[in-house]
């Protein structure tokens, strides 16, 4: 096996490419740092200025990575054929070939919106069925839901899905009572129980959806390349209506391809694993990718949170390749609907990525994966560096105003040394930073218009161009807000405060003003103070910083307005931020939209909402029977537990379901005997007030 790995041609190429990339980044950064030091009043000779140049250098290197990666992607896509793309090993028309290995599609969920998850699953199932290769796939819904109502809702949805699709023994459902190690623990639990039954597993997120053809292609690529351990696709953002999410999904569609191609250009077989929309070879994953617990307490110790990067590194350490199939279509996900949801997600990611720093020097890891750990951490640390840079430059600006200029720094000099500032140098540096930041966006535009000739898929050349310009404007507005939050996340992680791993709010919803004030209030105050101080002390420096100060001051209305679905719809009407999936949607996405619009089930004759899972499990004889059956074998219980549960049962019967806490509901749901007793006694109750509390219709006085 090792010989097979050693012969991979891509390794040589990747080494040359990486050295080339590092050289380019270093040259750009050194030149920019020299410029920067020349702009500063003391030419980088004071301690403050040295610190500024160092921080600036780190930041410039960071944005240069993005620039050169995008440039590499642009060159690759301009050539149209990439011989080192993993998909090129397995041609598109090879769809009819038999698949030799069985594949499990895993959908790990935790307190997600059940209807949305199961609708996506249904469509993926139907899409796979349409390919005629369904018999090679099984679906596993792996639930870590802690909310008792959601648990029952999932079971009911599973039963209904199996029944309507005729998919018993094809779609499976597993609920873990203890969500040990979160998502990675959930996947590991699957591997330990049923992993041996499958060659591959395709991991989904709760908001993932893939077409049947892309699933088949992934398996085919894995079968063709026996050294590949993980194959990651580049999911495209779809289905969003809020303004900010539409901007994000547009950016994802327009700029994503060149960044994807660029990442593949540099990383080749040492690529990322993003934790979803990816296929994994099960046997090596089970053998090498189990995650250890880090010593010490969270946030930097304990369970590894951003498990995907580490799993990719471990897979690679064992000799298996990790590839990014950047050109594989039919892989979708959904963007966070609001800025606040995005920031909540970022807080978790930030903690996970910073935790990776502890693994940076672990023995046996490939340098490329160490670089990826660093890259992941820098995604958030860069914000803190930017914040630091702004603080240092503000300090410098204030000091320069307060301090009396020293015209004769060298004693006994005949001529004074005038403080000279070169605005043209500052403008040159600003322009080059702008080019580094925004050139990838224009390269993407050029690629779509002139090379791929796909501008119609984005509403035409003018709308595409306007969309890109508006996206740049939005980036300008949101960058300082994100910077402030990311800085805070890094800071609180480093000081040892941890974050819970709660589920994401994925459905469309808008940010309320009060919520926005609570989250953005401190940032707005900071912007106001900073702006006022600069305005009165150093007016020219204030004007230079207005692009950062103004968005901070406006962060509350920006957050609320950007979450608005009506604004998103206005953009859509104007033809802004259109994506190909909106103009010509594949049938899977079209079906998803139709089905999500027609939801909200009713449970006549008893009026219980689908969301009230516990009540349904007690009242509805079908759900009660289903739930008890899925609990499996009856367990022997200690008398104290039985007594406690009996008391809970009485409480439920006398006071109704609303008086029970989630923990109490869960305890009752775990006991099939209790649940049956509750069901029977409730249906026999003579007390109509209690019956109504459980959703029974009011008493009828006469027939």
């Amino acid at each position: 096996m090792n010989q097979l790995f050693d012969n991979a041609a891509w390794k040589k190429v990747s080494r040359i490419r990486r050295i080339f990339l590092i050289t380019l980044i270093l040259i750009t950064t050194v030149v920019a740092c020299l410029f920067m030091s020349n702009i500063l009043p003391h030419k980088g000779s004071t301690g403050l200025e040295v610190a500024m140049v160092l921080v600036f250098g780190a930041l410039f290197a960071w944005i240069s990575i993005g620039f050169w990666t995008a440039t590499a992607g642009f060159v690759t896509l301009m050539r149209k054929y990439d011989r080192l793309a993993i998909t090129s090993t397995c041609l598109e028309n090879n769809r009819q070939g038999e698949l030799s290995g069985r594949t499990a599609i895993l959908i790990p969920i935790c307190n997600e919106e059940v209807e949305r998850v199961f609708t996506r699953l249904r469509i993926t199932y139907q899409s796979l069925e349409a390919t005629g290769k369904l018999q090679d796939f099984d679906f596993f819904i792996l639930s870590d839901s802690t909310n008792p109502d959601t648990w029952v809702e999932e079971e009911a949805a599973w039963a209904e899905l199996c029944q309507t699709l005729g998919a018993v023994n094809r779609i499976f459902y597993r609920h873990r009572r203890v969500n040990f190690k979160y998502k990675s623990g959930n996947i590991a639990d699957f591997c330990r129980r049923w992993g041996k039954n499958y060659h591959y597993m395709i991991v989904f997120d709760a908001d993932s959806m893939m077409t049947g053809h892309s699933l088949i292609r992934m398996v085919q690529v894995m079968e063709r390349n026996q050294t590949v351990g993980i194959l990651q696709t580049a999911p495209l953002g779809v289905n969003r209506e809020s303004a900010i999410a539409r901007v994000q999904q547009f950016a994802n569609h327009v700029y994503g391809p060149i960044f994807g191609a660029g990442l593949n250009f540099i990383q080749l077989g040492d690529s990322f694993f993003w934790g979803h929309n990816a296929i994994i070879r099960v046997a090596p994953f089970m053998k090498h990718c189990s995650l250890p617990r880090l010593s010490g307490k969270p946030p930097l110790g304990g369970n590894i949170l951003s498990h995907d990067f580490v799993e990719a590194a471990l897979m690679r350490r064992a000799g298996w390749e990790v590839w990014l199939a950047y050109d594989l279509e039919g892989s979708y996900e959904e963007m966070p609907p609001t800025l606040l949801e995005e920031l909540k997600r970022d807080r978790r990611w930030c903690q996970g990525n910073i935790q990776h720093m502890r693994l940076l020097f672990s023995k046996g890891l490939f340098p490329a994966h160490r670089a990826l750990f660093l890259h992941g951490a820098m995604a958030y640390v860069s914000a803190l560096l930017w914040f630091l840079f702004l603080s240092l430059s503000t300090a410098e600006a204030i000091v320069e105003v307060i301090r009396v200029p020293d015209y004769f720094p060298v004693m006994l000099s005949l001529f004074p040394t005038w403080p000279v500032w070169h605005p043209q140098w500052a403008l040159t540096l600003l322009a080059s930073t702008g080019i580094i930041l925004f050139m990838p966006k224009f390269l993407s535009l050029l690629l779509i218009i002139f090379r791929q000739r796909r501008s119609r898929e984005f509403g035409g050349i003018i709308k595409l161009f306007l969309g890109v310009m508006a996206e740049i404007f939005f980036s300008f507005l949101f960058a300082p807000i994100r910077m402030l939050f990311h800085s805070k996340f890094v800071f609180i992680t480093l000081v040892g405060r941890q974050v819970g791993w709660t589920s994401q709010q994925r459905s469309e919803h808008e940010t309320f003003w009060l919520e926005a004030i609570r989250f953005h209030g401190p940032g707005m105050v900071l912007g106001l103070i900073w702006g006022t101080v600069l305005f009165f002390i150093n007016r020219s420096f204030f004007w230079w910083n207005t692009p950062i100060i103004v968005p901070l001051i406006l962060s509350i209305p920006l957050s609320v307005l950007s979450s608005s679905t009506s604004l998103g719809k206005v953009f859509q009407k104007l033809g802004l931020f259109l994506i190909p999936e909106e103009i010509n949607p594949p049938w899977e996405l079209h079906l998803l939209q139709t089905m999500t619009q027609n939801q909200e089930a009713s449970f006549a004759p008893i009026l219980i909402s689908a969301k009230e899972g516990f009540t349904r499990a007690v009242v509805d004889p079908n759900i009660n029977a289903l739930h008890r059956s899925l609990l499996g074998k009856k367990r022997k219980l200690m008398p104290s537990i039985m007594k406690r549960r009996q008391e809970l049962l009485e409480k439920a019967l006398t006071q109704g379901p609303k008086t029970l806490s989630p923990k109490e509901k869960k305890e009752l749901l775990l006991d099939p005997q209790c649940l049956l007793q509750l069901h029977e006694r409730l249906w026999e109750t003579l007390d109509h007030t209690i019956a109504q509390k459980w959703g029974f219709p009011p008493k009828r006085n006469s027939l």
């Binding site: 995650l291 079908n622 003579l686």
Partner: protein, 165 residues
């Protein structure tokens, strides 16, 4: 107009004295239960009547109409007996699915246990890295030739610095 609305009228014409409040409540509860099982109305009425009759016959010793608990007990008894019949008629697909698998329904395939043990990973890499680097440095420095070159270099540096002052 549902069958439920027409049914009691027919009953009332025949035996109005039987329609006591208890009987009505029991009737409604049993009928509601069958409805939640998605039993078609006609069939549900038939079952309800049968359950109430059974409940009445079970309490021969006491007078009056059967209460809700008695009627529900009778219904459960009846459903147990009639389960095979219900299954055959499969009044709704949903019920057919649930009832068919009521005993031993599992949402998971049979277990095929494997194991997944974490590979050895250095949990304190900083310390290991430092120790490794120091060891390497010590190994290099301990070579006589390198040690000599370093020594000469340090002497030269010292001389240069002294002259500079």
């Amino acid at each position: 107009m549902s069958l439920l609305d027409s049914f009691p009228t027919v009953q009332c014409e025949r035996k109005p004295d039987l329609i006591s409040p208890d009987w009505q409540e029991a009737f409604h509860r049993v009928f509601l239960y069958l409805q939640t099982l998605n039993v078609p109305e006609e069939k549900a009425l038939e079952f309800t009547r049968e359950a109430l009759r059974l409940a009445g016959s079970n309490r021969r010793d006491t007078a009056g109409s059967p209460s809700i608990p008695e009627a529900m007990c009778a219904l459960r008894e009846l459903l147990r007996k009639q389960l095979s019949l219900l299954r055959k008629e499969s009044f709704s697909q949903k019920d057919a699915f649930l009832h068919e698998n009521l005993n031993g329904l599992s949402s998971m395939p049979p277990l095929n246990r494997g194991f997944m043990v974490p590979d050895a990973i250095d949990l304190i890499p900083w310390r290991t890295f430092l120790v490794r680097s120091l060891k390497r440095a010590a190994a290099i420095v301990s070579r006589p030739l390198i040690f000599l070159i370093l020594f000469i270099f340090l002497i030269l540096l010292f001389v240069l610095l002294t002259l500079w002052k």
